[in-house]
Symmetry: C2
Subunit: 256 residues, 2 copies
């Protein structure tokens, strides 16, 4: 199972949209995939049509050691896509785990227990911060996928994010690599977007995925129907881009 963390502390850059739609695209390509919602906002949970009030147990209970990860995995509308839900109570983890000796490794330990369930890929959707939840996700992952909105504040935040990734790699997870940077909400008519793209490709070269996710309102409409975009509208530019990104990712790992 390749575990990929979708992270960026800058808010609203398309982390959840990328985690849901990339996971769904891989499931559509017959790869068994797990989506783990590591954000107390629980957007990946509601974006997949799961009603928070119906959930018995979620990631918070797993990280506190009260539930096994296997027990909280939910099916979704797509046969090859499963979800580990979250809920607002997950906010409490940071303070409750102060002083706990392996507070950063809780998620890594839980994910090891499900290695035998046959998932090819797992995506961890992170909250917009560099706190304990994101550190847990980075510590549990083989690689980090960074959605990057082509705007000033998002670009500025990249330095902090890369520094945090280096720290986690040095102290907690020596295997952690950069899966790549995905340009999101891209509108080629805007100078700002084209300037940021040129700067990022100039600086990070091959580390930036060829596939660019365009700004496409269908991607913003899909979560209100509780579906990934490829189930809501497979022909829209947003869905096509995520399907393309999934193939690019699989080719990279010799899985295409």
């Amino acid at each position: 199972m390749r575990i990929i963390c979708v992270a960026n502390q800058k808010g609203g850059v398309g982390k959840t949209t990328t985690a849901i739609n990339l996971a769904a695209s891989l499931a559509a390509a017959e790869r068994k995939t797990l989506l783990v919602d590591c954000d107390p906002q629980a957007n990946a949970t509601s974006g997949m049509g799961i009603d928070g009030k119906t959930i018995r147990a979620h990631l918070y209970h797993v990280l506190l050691g009260r539930e096994k990860l296997k027990e909280v995995i939910l099916p979704t509308e797509m046969p090859l896509l499963s979800l580990v839900p979250s809920a607002p109570s997950l906010i409490g983890l940071e303070v409750e785990m102060v002083g706990h000796p392996s507070r950063e490794r809780l998620l890594a330990k839980s994910l090891r227990e499900i290695e035998d369930l046959g998932f090819r890929y797992a995506f961890l959707d992170c909250p917009p911060s560099l706190g304990l939840l994101t550190v847990n996700a980075l510590t549990a992952s083989h690689s980090v996928l960074i959605p990057l909105q082509c705007e000033y504040y998002a670009l500025e935040g990249l330095t902090n994010l890369l520094r945090t990734i280096r720290l986690v790699k040095a102290r907690l997870n020596p295997n952690l690599e950069l899966e790549g940077i995905v340009l999101t909400m891209f509108d080629g008519r805007m100078n700002l977007a084209r300037q940021v793209e040129a700067e990022v490709r100039g600086h990070f070269g091959k580390k930036v995925f060829d596939t660019v996710i365009p700004r496409n309102v269908r991607l913003a409409e899909a979560p209100s129907h509780g579906k990934p975009a490829i189930l809501y509208d497979i022909s829209c530019a947003g869905s096509r881009a995520y399907l393309e990104l999934a193939w690019e990712l699989m080719r990279k790992h010799g899985d295409a």
Copy 2:
């Protein structure tokens, strides 16, 4: 001094853009205004053209009790607008203050010390979370201004935010009121935006500002020049909307 907290745990909804441009618009209308950056991302600091490397001390040092708030206030390009900067080290506050008896009231205590400096308004720009920094800001404020992007996840998060505001009001700050909800990044051509606007105005009525902030690329370009939009391009739709919002806010408080 009226202290207004700009908060929403949903990421990327326009908190920083609203805090900067509303504060700048009030300063342009001759009201002495303070902008406090409560986010470790320090976007309000860089968005005002301040280089993080040149800052001697910032909000983190104030909240730890090592510096007086008065000592870290910086001037900006606008004579009536001052800034309290922040920096990534602010992330450490949550863990360092565990167990501290008045960990939620640190900012309120510091702001009381500058009541005599003649600021008419102070705006607190919050990070995208409901952790200790946002709770400090809510506890220190007279009211909360909620920037709301007209999309599904942002609308969904409103319930959690309002619950947190009620909790802070009940336990930490009985004076806390809702200043209002500001619709941001609004694109009237999109059904989704119009549906969310109708739902929010239907549910919150007069609590929603009449002024709507349109999606306008000049607002996204201004921070790369280190200026509020009204200094970068006063005639653009974004600047005009924030100037209008400033007047609406002043009229509401009998200050126009």
